[in-house]
Symmetry: C2
Subunit: 436 residues, 2 copies
């Protein structure tokens, strides 16, 4: 059995490892167009933020490590055309036949019209573009970042760390809107908006860019002479190469069944190419997160011979450090409550991190007003609290009544934890807790 | 309705707050023999470790804060006798009548015969003894700590931090045996045993102490001239004052039913006075942890008028920092497997904290060999990983199959997390994972 996997990032690599582990006798070939596999898309941000010292550290796996699992790896090899029904692909390294094909080519930033019109917008998601951006950064003091999502904010944080002046443009009226409610983030973006050198442009959409002027739909402009323009816009799969051989969803992701098989038999798609079932909504959603890439690729591998295990519903869970803040989110936001089938309530509170250590953590809990099941959580603190979001995500998944949260097992240590009483007792008073 | 609660530490205070919250019209009186309520028993260790600057910070609640909830607080008041059937107690502040009585007097270190024979052993669990010990520490370079449990090790860690020479005595052949398996801790106690100034005496039990010599049962001795001797032995309730009015368990804890009522009607006991139902074993256990004190006091408050809610089975979950290490544990240890009704397996592994940050976390998972339900977890790292134990504790409580751990919702961030693949995939290979 010959398995070809196209794409050498998280989903492709973990799928390859898993297939080889489950079926050691299979021939598994992974094809990557870049020179190296395993680049971490946030590499540039990590470097700018001082988390790594060189982009050489921004790899989660090398070709050599992957080959140790028995996977054959072809790098610097681009697929030039797919003939899915004949089970053949053409590559820059010759024609390849497959029994099973896994598409793991991920998403791309070059999905916007903006790039066709103005070629000097820089990106960062692969090693090559990160290098080019890094070099260009040496020449400028001012950087315009388009998009205040996770990627844009991580870049802004890193650029400030590097002493740049940063201009962040966002269509919405606050940053990180996919993961946080506006009321929850208000003090965060008010405080960070006062950081020396950082300017937010909310409610602004880029309409046109030329060599000297960035024009917003509102008519406002930014003079971009001597400024580097960096796109951190949301990503989408690039499907044109499949030439309508594959059924697509309305959001231009590839349609797959519950077992990750596409509309063409023996052809699978994973990671950022597809939608995943949402644990909160009774529907599929596009949530291009690395954790979802890994989980879809694992499930795909298990189904590659016979359909055994459906993809489990997923929560969108993130944890990130921006400026001096740790932020994490999982599940439903209050701003999405119209998408949920029942009435939603929320409670927001600020607590000390521990009994003796008075630094704060701010928490917002979103829950089903009838069943009291936890649906979503947002956290922010200047202390490293990210791991807490995994516990909350599990509380959501297990449909635990939030009124019993203080009965869950947990450790107490006066230095590292608080008794949680003030957090969880809100729900036992029978008040309208959304007013707390 | 008049409720009297005796004891102003975690269990008494949280019980008082909860009763007043549920029944605002009740008269709730909390009696504490010390001058202040709310002292954190690990105060001295926190001070020595530099986590607080003064013992004044070692309080989780003040009398004034508690009185704001409507609770009446009588400090410097000792109960001199209990007449439970008549619903009367005698105190140093007069006779008090109650409708319901909650005993929350906690545990004491003065439960060993050792103290009757040698009066100069210092303790630390209340403010007064901590002050005396602190003063005595000014005079000595050498400190003998009896007991290498959590309390003893926290003290040892703090004393080393203060530049003392520390001699730690432990009956078992390694430290922290209540929470960690020996194989898991081996590199920890080997490494810490090499810390300048720290000496472990394992397999040694104190037989006798006089002014100059500490004699072990083995015949070995330590010259304690110019050394301070500090007891961090395990704690037990002090029940003599109840003069057999209450049914006791064989381990000298107070017997309570599932609703926290003692053998005497309208008299309840909580916190360190009682056993709690174990989630792992089909039995009650003595687990004098603050988190259990809080949870038993909450449940007691809910049952004070009518029996509504039974005490939930508990996991013993701890998180602690010792020297440069963060250690956490929950649930069953492999060394306790004989107490579990089914076959137990375990797997131990060392992983990087995150994809790009190569510091390690060592993890031991103990699980049911038949159902693959997670039963216990031990963690150690030089990074602050304590919050992870809460997620694992919830995995145990929800009886999640460990082979599905990598499908649980979690966040991924190359700086702060790893993909967990190497951790959880062990279980999908079908190998004898205990050999990993």
């Amino acid at each position: 059995m010959k398995i070809i996997i196209v794409g050498g990032s998280f989903s492709g690599i973990y799928c390859a490892i898993k297939v080889k582990e489950l079926y050691p006798s299979f021939e598994v070939l992974l094809i990557e167009k870049k020179e190296k596999i395993g680049y971490i898309p946030s590499g540039l941000s990590m470097l700018l933020n001082g988390e790594i010292r060189s982009l050489d550290e921004a790899y989660f796996m090398t070709k050599e490590e992957l080959e140790k699992s028995g996977v054959t790896v072809l790098t610097s090899t681009e697929v030039t055309s797919y003939n899915l029904s004949s089970k053949v692909i053409e590559t820059t390294n010759g024609t390849k036949q497959f029994d099973k094909l896994v598409l793991a080519t991920g998403s791309s930033q070059k999905s916007s019209k903006m790039f066709d019109e103005f070629s000097d917008i820089k990106t960062y998601k692969d090693r090559e573009s990160a290098e080019i951006t890094l070099k260009a950064l040496e020449e400028v003091k001012d950087v315009v970042v388009i998009g205040a999502g996770q990627a844009g904010m991580e870049l802004a944080s890193g650029l400030i760390h590097q002493g740049k002046r940063v201009h962040v443009i966002e269509t919405m009226d606050y940053p990180l809107y996919k993961y946080f409610d506006k009321d929850f983030l208000e003090s965060f973006y008010t405080t960070t908006g006062k950081i020396e050198g950082l300017t937010f442009y909310f409610n602004e959409t880029v309409k046109q860019i030329d060599d000297s002027i960035l024009l917003f739909s509102s008519g406002n402009t930014i003079d971009i002479t001597d400024k580097l323009v960096l796109s951190a816009n949301s990503v989408r799969p690039e499907l044109s190469i499949f030439k309508n051989q594959l059924k697509a969803n309305s959001d231009h992701t590839i349609f797959v069944d519950d077992y990750l098989e596409t509309s063409v038999q023996d052809v699978y798609a994973v990671g950022d190419l597809i939608q995943v079932p949402s644990f909160i909504f009774q529907t599929n959603v596009y949530a291009p997160l690395i954790v979802n890439a890994v989980q879809t690729s694992m499930t795909c591998a298990k189904n590659i011979v016979e359909k055994k295990e459906t993809l489990r519903p997923m929560l969108k869970t993130i944890g990130v450090k921006l400026f001096d803040y740790y932020l994490a989110s999982t599940g439903l936001m209050e701003s999405e409550d119209f998408l949920y089938h029942e009435e939603v309530k929320s409670v927001m509170m600020t607590l000390p991190i521990s009994t003796v250590y008075k630094k704060d953590i701010k928490v917002k809990l979103v829950y089903d007003a009838t069943t009291y099941h936890l649906l979503g959580v947002q956290l922010i603190s200047k202390e490293p609290v990210l791991d807490k979001i995994n516990t909350f995500a599990l509380v959501i998944k297990e449909k635990i009544d939030i009124r019993t949260l203080n009965q869950l097992p947990h450790f107490y240590n006066a230095v590292f934890a608080n008794t949680s009483l003030s957090l969880f007792d809100v729900f036992e008073k029978g008040d309208d807790s959304s007013e707390v």
